[in-house]
């Protein structure tokens, strides 16, 4: 067998600022042309592995390493980040942040420019590589004119231009809507075929990555490798769950139904899954057992009503139109749709950040027209996607107190409210801590607390779990569910279909500025027409139920969610 293109030999690494090593005793060989998935929770060391391979460690993040790392046969420690960049091409998570050039062409040309490639040669090279990822008709475009998927093509071309042996993807799906994520995986697959480079994908969204074949999975936990095996073998075991990674939904459903997952079933993909008659029967009987238990929930009175809402940032372009829906007290509702469908604009209109061209927003039956942002904020809370964009005080207590200070509330009343809010949010023990000592999920709690302290009747959250691994995701969502149980009305903007399905009964679907549907979450993903129009992705439960001969996939999905909430949690 040929020698590996990347070889970790009893490798360990410790960041300068940390007391403990982040990687320990790593032994891993990657061969030319392989396609490997590196999975693990945040903090498992999976991103650190990537940074060791591309040279950001130790170039940008210094630290101490032990053991050996060979990249293309050379000792990585002896070579520079520049030499490594000839062998390893890295596509970072943030497609906007890594867009360096001002146009597509310039961005792809960035590496050749640094290598002093003459201009004529460079132009040819750029157009050839752009062709490889089908972006050659957009060479003159600026980043803001491209969609998320197109930006990813550009990033990819920008590293392929070096003719690298290894393509490294650091969480390529993090900020993409489901359909764009699927396209990305297809794109990676295509590039793999066309270039023959080894492909390394670092990602925790397993089901989405497995949309195309991967040769093996390396599962990381606490700085070590806990598994390095073919996909099917890992899925058949229960290592994933033990280490905080969510397994594909269809497998979870099968396990609930009492079906044993075996390697021979081809569990890598719901399409490739082979189920025996006996297995299908198990799924069907599980389904029939649950089906009788479904009941519809009752909600309180009307809280927020939107009528014929229309909006455009400029006079000739409409961003949102014909929006009509009502939210009741105590509901938890998802607003879904692809990036740019108008979801965030809707939130801005409700909060009063922007004014509608026409139409009205009623709260408790009263038209909000003319109310300022500040006046609305008392009743409508808005939590931004990134907590770092909201937190403006160094101490937790001060941050939560801020809105009350502004309103001129007396001191005792203020302290009482802050204390109470911190208790609700489970932050009371940390009340005198600095914000910087918190994890991302805890920071998110702080931002939610800083909104809750104003006692809004409805909370709007923009992508509450974006970029979080399963553990933090569950932590944030369970907290929101708890708040909802305490009577808070919650509106979530998201493109995460699992989130919608698991935590909200009702979903409002947007596409290209129009409201396509207002229905149950399960129905959204089981209506192929709607999935297609809103650029979403049907869940694997849909496919599984059809494969088992259940002709009401929507009800099957609802049963699954109901079962999870009742039995598992």
């Amino acid at each position: 067998m040929a020698s590996p293109v990347i070889s970790f030999q009893d490798y360990g690494f410790q960041y300068m600022a940390q007391a403990e090593p982040t990687l320990r005793h790593i032994n891993l060989d990657i061969y030319s042309g392989e396609k490997v998935l590196i999975a693990g929770t945040s903090g498992s060391g999976k991103s650190t592995i990537g940074n060791c391979i591309n040279g950001l460690i130790p170039f940008a993040y210094p630290g101490k390493s032990t053991g050996k790392l060979l990249v293309d046969g050379k000792d990585a420690e002896q070579s520079s980040i520049f030499e490594l960049s000839h062998t390893v091409g890295t596509v970072l998570q943030d497609t906007d942040g890594q867009f360096i050039g001002l146009t597509v062409g310039e961005d792809i040309a960035f590496a050749p420019e640094n290598n002093c490639v003459p201009q004529d040669e460079m132009k040819q090279l750029v157009s050839r590589v752009a062709g490889l990822v089908d972006i050659d008709h957009h060479l003159e475009y600026a980043p803001h004119e491209l969609s998320g998927g197109q930006k990813q093509r550009v990033s990819l071309a920008g590293v392929m231009v070096e003719d690298v042996k290894v393509l490294l993807f650091d969480e390529p799906l993090a900020n993409l809507d489901p359909a764009a994520g699927r396209t990305t995986i297809e794109l990676i697959d295509m590039v793999h075929e066309r270039t023959g480079a080894a492909v390394l994908v670092i990602e925790h969204r397993l089901e989405d990555v497995l949309w195309r074949r991967m040769d093996r999975i390396v599962l990381m936990n606490e700085g070590g490798i806990v598994a390095d095996m073919p996909v099917a073998k890992l899925l058949a075991g229960n290592l994933l769950l033990q280490h905080g990674i969510r397994e594909p939904l269809y497998l979870t459903a099968l396990r609930y139904a009492g079906v044993e997952i075996r390697e021979t079933m081809h569990p890598e993909h719901v399409g490739s899954l082979v189920l025996g008659q006996e297995d299908k029967e198990k799924v069907r009987s599980w389904y029939h057992m649950l089906r009788t238990g479904i009941h519809s929930e009752q909600y309180g009175q009307e809280l927020l009503r939107i009528e014929n809402l229309k909006f455009g940032y400029t006079a000739d372009k409409t961003t949102l139109q014909d929006v009509n829906f009502t939210i009741h007290k105590g509901e938890m509702v998802s607003v879904v749709g692809r990036n740019g469908a108008g979801k965030s604009t809707l939130a801005k209109l409700i909060c009063g950040f922007e004014q509608p061209v026409s139409g009205s927003i009623y709260m408790d039956g009263r038209d909000l027209k003319g109310d300022t942002i500040k006046e609305r904020a008392v009743r409508i809370g808005y939590v931004m996607q990134n907590p770092n964009q909201m937190i403006s005080k160094p101490m937790i207590w001060d941050e939560v107190e801020m809105a009350l200070l502004q309103s001129g509330m007396p001191k005792e009343e203020r302290s009482r409210r802050v204390e109470e809010t911190l208790k609700i949010c489970g932050l009371y023990p940390f009340r005198n801590w600095p914000v910087s000592a918190l994890s991302f999920g805890q920071k998110k709690r702080v931002t939610i607390a800083s909104i809750l302290v104003q006692r809004p009747q409805i909370i709007i959250l923009d992508e509450p779990t974006a970029g979080q691994d399963y553990h933090h995701y569950t932590e944030i969502m369970d907290f929101l569910k708890e708040l909802n149980g305490k009577g808070y009305t919650i509106l979530m903007i998201t493109h995460d279909m699992h989130l919608m399905l698991e935590y909200t009964r009702r979903a409002i679907v947007f596409s290209e500025g129009r409201m396509l549907a207002d229905t149950t979450a399960a129905h959204v993903l089981n209506d192929p027409g709607l999935v297609e129009a809103a650029n979403l992705k049907e869940t694997s439960l849909y496919t599984l139920s059809l494969a088992c001969g259940i002709d009401e996939p929507q009800v099957f999905t609802e049963c699954f969610i109901g079962y999870e909430q009742k039995e598992v949690r």
Partner: protein
């Protein structure tokens, strides 16, 4: 957000746009030096005339850059005001004569000489402003770094400047988002609160903005290093254009202006043209 940036590249088809970035940069630098050196009214009038012609040729309209022009006007006015307040007799000293037009109070009289001095000072600024604005408005930002490198400035510096320019709209957008969310927490940035409170409030926006910008910088610098930025002393440019006949003509022209400017200004050993004696 559909809000246009205050000052940015405006794409039009004109002779000025067709020049390479390097030419425009040389023109701008030489022009600034020329107008900074001289106080000679005759030279300044000539340069002012040329500035206006160049502005016409560029097809940039006044309203495209009205905000910046307004700012420049305010700045110019303040400058004139303070010069007058601190040395109301400077013109008299310079031109060695004194023609009083009006007495205000105490040392403050308005003399013909002082007015003439202010006229020259103002003309110097008015000569440079259109050319400076044209350099920014007519130079494709892509070409900006290449043009700096073209006059021998390290490409690292050139690239940092062009990246900074490029992120201005992004940062503006982010500022807008953060400020909206903070307003929803009761922070008022409109004119209703006292100045001190408003200043304190704007910190609530700046802190998250600075932190997120630092984050952005980390990502970009990693992305650049991963693609070999800084490997060699020199680099090539995808967008750089070759110098054409018009470029050489323009450079020759601006150097001529600079020489004429120097000759006329220093002919009699004095930077100031003195019509009074």
């Amino acid at each position: 957000m559909a809000r246009a940036a205050i000052l940015s590249y405006i794409k039009r088809n004109s002779l000025v746009h067709e020049l390479t970035g390097t030419t425009k940069l040389i023109f701008f630098l030489a022009w600034s030096v020329a107008s900074m050196i001289t106080y000679d009214t005759r030279v300044l009038s000539g340069m002012l005339l040329i500035s206006i012609v160049v502005f016409k040729v560029s097809k940039i309209r006044i309203r495209d850059i009205s905000i910046v022009l307004g700012l420049a006007a305010v700045f110019l006015l303040m400058n004139n005001l303070f010069v007058y307040l601190f040395s109301p007799e400077y013109g008299v000293e310079l031109y060695e004569s004194r023609t009083v037009l009006l007495t205000i109070a105490g040392p403050y009289t308005i003399t013909l000489q002082q007015l003439f001095y202010h006229l020259n000072m103002t003309m110097k600024v008015i000569c440079v402003v259109p050319v400076a604005l044209l350099f920014i408005a007519c130079t494709d930002p892509s070409e900006f770094a290449a043009s700096l490198a073209g006059i021998g400035i390290s490409y690292r510096i050139g690239y940092s400047v062009s990246l900074a320019l490029r992120y201005i709209p992004d940062v503006q957008r982010e500022y807008h988002n953060i400020s909206q969310a903070q307003q929803a927490r009761g922070i008022d940035l409109s004119g209703k609160d006292k100045l001190f409170t408003r200043m304190k409030n704007s910190v609530a926006i700046l802190l998250p903005l600075v932190l997120s910008s630092l984050n952005r910088i980390e990502t970009v610098s990693n992305a650049m290093e991963l693609r070999g930025f800084g490997r060699n002393k020199k680099r090539t440019w995808y967008v750089r254009r070759k110098m054409q006949r018009n470029d050489w003509l323009t450079i020759a022209f601006v150097l001529t202006v600079l020489i004429v400017d120097l000759v006329v200004t220093f002919w009699d050993g004095n930077r100031f043209y003195n019509p009074f004696v």
